[in-house]
Symmetry: C2
Subunit: 360 residues, 2 copies
């Protein structure tokens, strides 16, 4: 893969065989800088989530912009990032089971790792791991503030679990975490922080997250830190949320029109295994074709994209390469082994997507 | 990855860290044998599609059961399979662009490759490649018989393109191809075959495909060959189509309950990057939990599965491992690097999913 990938460095985008993920480095750098500046201006620490890009080089760029550390969703992602020299990683996941506990201990010996829990069973298991490793493990309490996923259900439950964590050997209660940052989440966090402060357990960190609402984080009291992922790239979901324009989208998929079976239909060499079958939030279709914005990517099969050209005055020819802004950039990155870093129209670097597929 | 993967050989499924893809080899072998017997009984050649499993060892098992060759959707998949010793591969894709043409020539030097086209531009490009390689390239005409994807639109157009192919140097018109096999497809194929026979260009191969309707293929005249993919595993889509029972599903995803935030909710360590966000056809939810069939996997985020337990009398505990039949096995295989081949409850082999991510 890598030999093929590096063959095109210095060439133009036209030299890249399709389908391929291309990343505009100017836009990427601007997106990283913009969020870093915004969060710094409002006194919020930045701990970007690498799930969206899974590339160590981009994580390092996020650190260089002033992040306090990174967020990885899975231990496997954290292992890749520690191998690449990242040193401060939050894993907001209930880590359970002997194989994972051993891997956590190994990671704690190499980097500052913090984790979350929403229950005592996980906390007790983490306590055992920390004692085994001979380290103090910082633990945040995950709070369900409306997402309906993991998390304690009330500020009182958060305070109660924090007390249990503080009593367990090897653990340090570090703070609170939720996803996404919202007004309701802020109210939950303020209430929980008050309860904890009354019990002399004031949280050091109150961590929120998400890209869609990130530019309103400063209006929501109760947080000290923000975890954003998608902001490095942006995508159709973020455009639909009103938080980005196509020119803010760093990640594109290059595809080729392989068939024009009818006057109103084009077929791409890119299907759900390239663009993901993620339907997107509040949008129809599976991608925005930059060169033909009136075209609709109406359906994906595994290796084909079906495009409706009825609204297009100009229509693409067989063999033509086009550029797609996908619905959900994170899902796209998880399907590919390599992404091409572009400077303008020129291929500057081929990045292996090293943490791709690290589901364990 | 592989060192970790092979560590669990000889252990039980409980020794596998989750999430993980496990494949019941008894069911897999039964599924392969059953389709081979059925197609042989009805005089149809079998050319299974490896997109569903992407594992050379399974392709070899399909060949050992009497297949005439295999089908790969992308050149990259074919390269993996030729590397693994497979010798007869159909790539039903319009292959275009210089990088792919060079790879096609390289493959033609190592195996019997056949391809499809639905237009003259691709046919002319293939002719150039075949002349360059010094081989005769067998080409099938892809027909759109109702799928609305690639393909010529009428039997007359199929016959016309076949004539063009027959005239181009380096190419041999080999037959017709469509997806999926259906009554309408059969009528199209019979009509096209009649036209071609009248022009002394009778097709050697008329290739249909698909798993959902495969057991009715013998009732549809006009085909000589069948390409089935999903049948090796089966999944919730195939169950919903009435063509399989849960005990026919060879592929399962092992997952762990990491949180029980409320009495009626469980959270799995498996989200859309493990199970895929493929919504399935005519089904709700994102997988069937074998141990808790009343549970509903109602929502996936990237690394979490949200399970509604309201219909369950017995409910899973935190830390418990469960087994999921996914909606679409092909999509799951494309997300993972390794699959564990099980004999009963024991891990017999760790298969690298070698053609995963071969989108080019």
């Amino acid at each position: 893969m890598n030999s093929v990938a590096s063959d095109v460095i210095g060439q133009t985008a036209d030299g890249i065989d399709t389908p391929a993920v291309v990343i505009d480095r100017d836009i990427l750098e601007r997106n990283i800088r913009r969020l870093a500046d915004y969060l710094a201006q409002h006194g919020l620490a930045s701990r970007p989530h690498i799930k969206s890009h899974k590339i160590p080089e981009i994580a390092r760029a996020q650190m260089a912009a002033g992040s306090v550390g990174i967020t990885c969703q899975k231990l496997g992602e954290a292992e890749v990032m520690v191998d690449a020299g990242l040193t401060d990683i939050l894993i907001p996941m209930n880590i359970l089971g002997e194989p994972k506990i051993w891997r956590l201990i190994a990671l704690m010996r190499r980097a500052r790792i913090s984790v979350t829990t929403d229950n005592l069973i996980v906390a007790q298991s983490l306590s055992g791991a920390a004692c085994e490793a001979g380290f103090i493990l910082p633990v945040l309490v995950e709070c369900d503030t409306g997402q309906g996923r993991c998390g304690v259900q009330s500020p009182a439950a958060a305070a109660e679990l924090a007390q249990e964590i503080a009593r367990l050997p090897g653990l340090r209660f570090d703070g609170l975490l939720t996803f996404p940052t919202s007004r309701t989440a802020g109210e939950f966090m303020v209430a929980a922080t008050r309860l904890l402060s009354d019990q002399s357990l004031a949280p050091s960190v109150v961590s929120g997250g998400g890209t869609p609402g990130v530019w309103h984080s400063h209006e929501i009291p109760g947080f000290t830190e923000h975890r954003a992922g998608e902001y490095v790239f942006n995508d159709r979901n973020i455009i639909a949320a009103g938080e980005a324009q196509p020119e803010d989208c760093a990640l594109r998929v290059r595809a080729t029109v392989v068939s024009r079976p009818t006057a109103d239909r084009a077929i791409l060499d890119s299907g759900s295994k390239t663009l993901s079958s993620n339907p997107g939030r509040g949008i129809t279709g599976f991608g925005l074709i930059v060169e033909y914005p009136e075209a609709q990517v109406v359906r994906l099969t595994e290796e084909h994209g079906i495009v409706d050209l009825r609204q297009c005055r100009r229509k693409p020819d067989i063999g033509e390469s086009i550029t797609i802004i996908p619905n959900h950039a994170s899902q796209v990155m998880n399907l590919h082994d390599v992404a091409y870093g572009m400077r303008g129209w020129s291929v500057e670097v081929a990045w292996p997507i090293r943490a791709r597929g690290c589901v364990r």
